[in-house]
Symmetry: C2
Subunit: 115 residues, 2 copies
DNA sequence: GTCAAACTACGATGGTTCTCGTACAATGGA
DNA sequence: TCCATTGTACGAGAACCATCGTAGTTTGAC
């Protein structure tokens, strides 16, 4: 039916609604940081099941929702899959250079600690 | 007595022990972000009571401890006062450019939202 | 020695978060 | 239509966190 599609549209914060503290909090969880780094490395969209995370499916859903509601990622349904992409343009506009530095820092720390 | 001084020495993580996720978490609280911004603006050390925070003294103690244990600030006693300073060198060495971008992002958001 | 100032320790409370399991819904293909 | 795939909703538990009040410690000045 036609109303079914409305249920499949996901709430995202507008660019101006994205808050720095919320973004930092979203990135302060190791599982979510890992998701973000994989998304950045993929340079495109990935479905939730493309990730091999050390948590169950429902916990995965939770983490993706936190990332979406913080404004870090954009999620859209594509068939049964849900595709995820970083909101790089929005973040770059709001917080110039920040996201790249965070990714770089995560990479350096990963190299240092063997992550 | 001489052992009394040991009680006044505060535990700090060594540079190599500082974790990105922990730093981001420390900065994801509005009160702590405010402290960090004031410290950055002061360009020197400030005592805990130099801050006019919207929380009680015991909550203030809590926030300063989180910042210290995350590696963002260094705290040292000076008489009855406890002086606070940013660990800019350590952070810059670990995560080049990150801290400046975060401060810049906080400034931009403050200007945008009137904070 | 006395006292005020600065900060801490402790316990409590209310809220949030991370995690899971189970049951369910939507989609696309056979 | 039936089914496998993909992800959600809901409830629950454990842990964590921000906040407070009260009582206490440490220091320096008088």
């Amino acid at each position: 039916m036609s109303t079914a599609t409305s249920k499949r549209e996901l709430d995202h914060p507008a660019r101006e609604e994205i808050r720095l503290e919320t973004v930092l909090h979203a990135l302060s969880d190791p599982v979510r940081m890992r998701v973000v780094r994989e998304l950045a490395a993929a340079e495109g969209e990935l479905s939730c099941s493309d990730f091999d995370l050390p948590v169950t499916k429902s916990t995965t859903t939770h983490h993706f929702r936190v990332l979406r509601e913080s404004g870090v990622i954009r999620q859209v349904y594509r068939g049964t899959a849900k595709m995820n992409g970083l909101r790089r343009t929005d973040l770059e506009e709001l917080f110039p250079g920040l996201f790249d530095r965070i990714l770089e820092a995560a990479g350096l720390q990963g190299a240092r600690l063997g992550g």
